[in-house]
Symmetry: D2
């Protein structure tokens, strides 16, 4: 069986500047995420990051990618508009996209949602309890009723997204807030999943259930088709009236 | 009662170049649409067009607009990105937006949808029959089961849009095609309605039921709020654990 | 302007058996809800309850009702199937329906949803914080970012409902759970709103913001049409091929 | 790999009364549908019909069924309410359900939708062209842009269903109508697909693409879980305030 070509994209900046983040993710957050996925033999996993040429997202790389995972935070503005347009095109053709945590403000996520993608936030000692709202959904396979992250950044509602096609998770935070933590949208021929956890100063991507959700989501988001955009001039399938004056006639009312 | 401040934006180029269009719409398509709306005393209607400074969509004008109606076709690329960003911001704050016909490819519509917005098309002698799929919806008040346009450009599926919140109309064309001709989406705090009819070489905007749909849609799309974007740092509402090491502890499993 | 004919239906049993409930709602929960709505001069408000003939929901009463509010709990099974069928018919024709709290298990709600409508629950000292997820929605007018109920029964996810058309509120509970506390569905020509708060042993329906939400919902749910069900044999609008053998011919492939 | 246990349920009455139907479907419509599915080695296919004991839908049979396909027409009223309740329970637990053509009025479909499921209809010589609105969807794999049925009963809008989660097909009819011919809904843990074609007096279920759609839908609808209904009393996960008087205190306002 063909493996799912999975590409984990990381901003890879915090890890170089902040010793706390470097201690948690010595090879970068993207490598921790990728290593967890590599335990799944159905996936072929590689990584890319911001400071590579074309951010590691060349035409060849994107053409060969089935599912792209995106983590970014402090350098959204450094991602080139051309690369964003190219990623967007690939999603609309059929590529899957998984956007993590602070990627809610990534150019690519905002471009696909069309909305602000804003939210409330707090970096503190909140516990996050993530409730499984969709126990039938492939993304929640093996997750159970809920799972907990001992400390995470809080994200709170209202979250500036379009109504999700499917709401998968809702988070409870110690400090009193709630958040739509997992949600899906079809965009063109591609599937998009947003998953909330993963602030860089917490060990979230070492969490087994966080890893499980991401792995499930890769399987769920794998492409079924690749359909390039087109807006064709289309000949009629049935005979048309030969009536050059039709447009001049007054229009009829309804029944 | 305060009137709904309604602004009809037209590209206003075909009318100056194509005598057939000029004959149908001597003052521009936007003026025909606006004049029909002026029959409704609950609306205060003005117009703007591409070749005005800032396309007639200055900060002051947009701030005073409740519902914006958009018709564009051959000059989408000439609409400045700054103006598009400003219109998008106003929609997300709460302004209503009605996009007509070839506006499916307008920058503002694509920016709010996040998708290709592509379709099939044919300029010919098709009759269009527009079926009312949502007889309960305010946009279809007074429209009946269906209405007909004696000749129109054909638009065919698949239409590259996100699943609409509400599907209002489906069109039947003589040549054998179908199209989702009326659809709504909530985007942020604003309501968006796409309405298919209105190719420039047909007298469509003189059609009473087309006018009725647009008028209904203005009422439906009027703002309920105006909420500027924000992404606040938010203090807790409940006491947090005083536990600086929480993030270091292994995470718990689920029940 | 015609007033919105609003009918508050209460089970009215707990109030007669449980002194704690009687102390909170001396005239019945339905009367407390109705009295709050009577402050709104746009509404004409009456009440009905289970132990009336036909549960107070005769053909004449239902025909004259614009919006029905439903609270039931221990006696769902005593509501006659005929009355449920009649209420369902009226909703599908266009009547609005607001289902409160334990009404999640009312026959009428389950009949309109098609699902289990099950949930987790706990009667204890939880505080409920109800977050406004849809600040643009008419149902949340004047509600602000959130509001709190000092003690309420907990309801937890997963809630066995179809994906709502619009998710309005999400609740946070002290004990660690979340719940989709306000949600809307279009059912036929009628609008349905489910609103979580209101266990009989708490003074919830004296809470100003709870009252405000219900009042907003009545305005939102008022009918736009009344369309009786029908499944008509429909003559063609276009000429059909005169070809009695068409069904015998092999079918064509696609392009 | 475990095969998908697929059960094709037919009313099997027209075939015994109407020679035209018997000529088209000598062993019954359900056998024609089942035989087409038997070409797919991933499926294990059996059949059941109305006049069997418990309509062939015993507890054992339903417990062993992954996906149920339903065709009924003139005898919806003879299907026992107990069996309908049992099928509904199995769908909500996770079983897939595919409802064909006149099954729009089957008790089980109406019970899961909550609406009238009414439509317009005409038995005549209409050609039906079924447009693929969702080329990315597994149900449309191999179907192309559209396919045609040379003669079929017409079904027209408005179709009295809740907004589908996914709209898959829209039909064009010669006589001038349109119809949402393929649509999906999640109901509890089960997936539901409605597919329009298949009036008994036409050879529709011998049509290769109709067969392909049904086969695709079986794969799509196969269960991911089986979760029995429950409404548990749930203990808190976090400490609650020890405050028996909380419910007596006045409620706080919002920020």
């Amino acid at each position: 069986m063909t493996k799912i070509q999975t590409l984990v994209w990381g901003e890879f900046r915090h890890e170089k500047k902040n010793p706390k983040v470097a201690a948690l993710y010595p090879d970068g957050m993207h490598e921790t995420i990728a290593n967890a996925l590599r335990a799944d033999s159905a996936l072929s996993v590689s990584t890319a990051w911001l400071d590579q040429p074309e951010h590691g997202l060349t035409t060849e790389v994107l053409a060969a990618t089935d599912v792209l995972i995106w983590w970014g935070h402090i350098a959204h503005g450094e991602v080139s508009d051309e690369v964003v347009a190219h990623v967007r095109q690939r999603v609309l053709e059929g590529m899957g996209l998984i956007v993590l945590h602070s990627g809610h403000y990534a150019k690519i996520f905002k471009a696909l949602m069309g909305t602000t993608c804003s939210l409330k936030w707090r970096e503190s000692t909140d516990k996050e309890r993530i409730w499984n709202i969709a126990p039938h959904h492939p993304i929640t396979a093996g997750i159970g009723e809920y799972f907990e992250i001992q400390a995470e950044e809080m994200y709170g509602e209202p979250f500036g997204i379009p109504t999700p096609d499917e709401l998968i998770f809702i988070s409870w935070f110690t400090g009193g807030e709630v958040f739509r933590s997992g949600a899906t949208w079809q965009r063109g021929n591609g599937r998009v999943f947003y998953f909330r956890p993963g602030h860089e100063t917490y060990p979230t991507y070492h969490h087994q259930q966080v890893q499980r959700v991401i792995s499930n989501a890769v399987h769920w988001a794998k492409p079924t088709v690749c359909i390039p955009d087109g807006c064709p001039n289309w000949p009629p399938l049935e005979p048309l009236p030969i009536d050059p004056e039709a447009a001049e006639r007054p229009t009829e009312g309804h029944r």
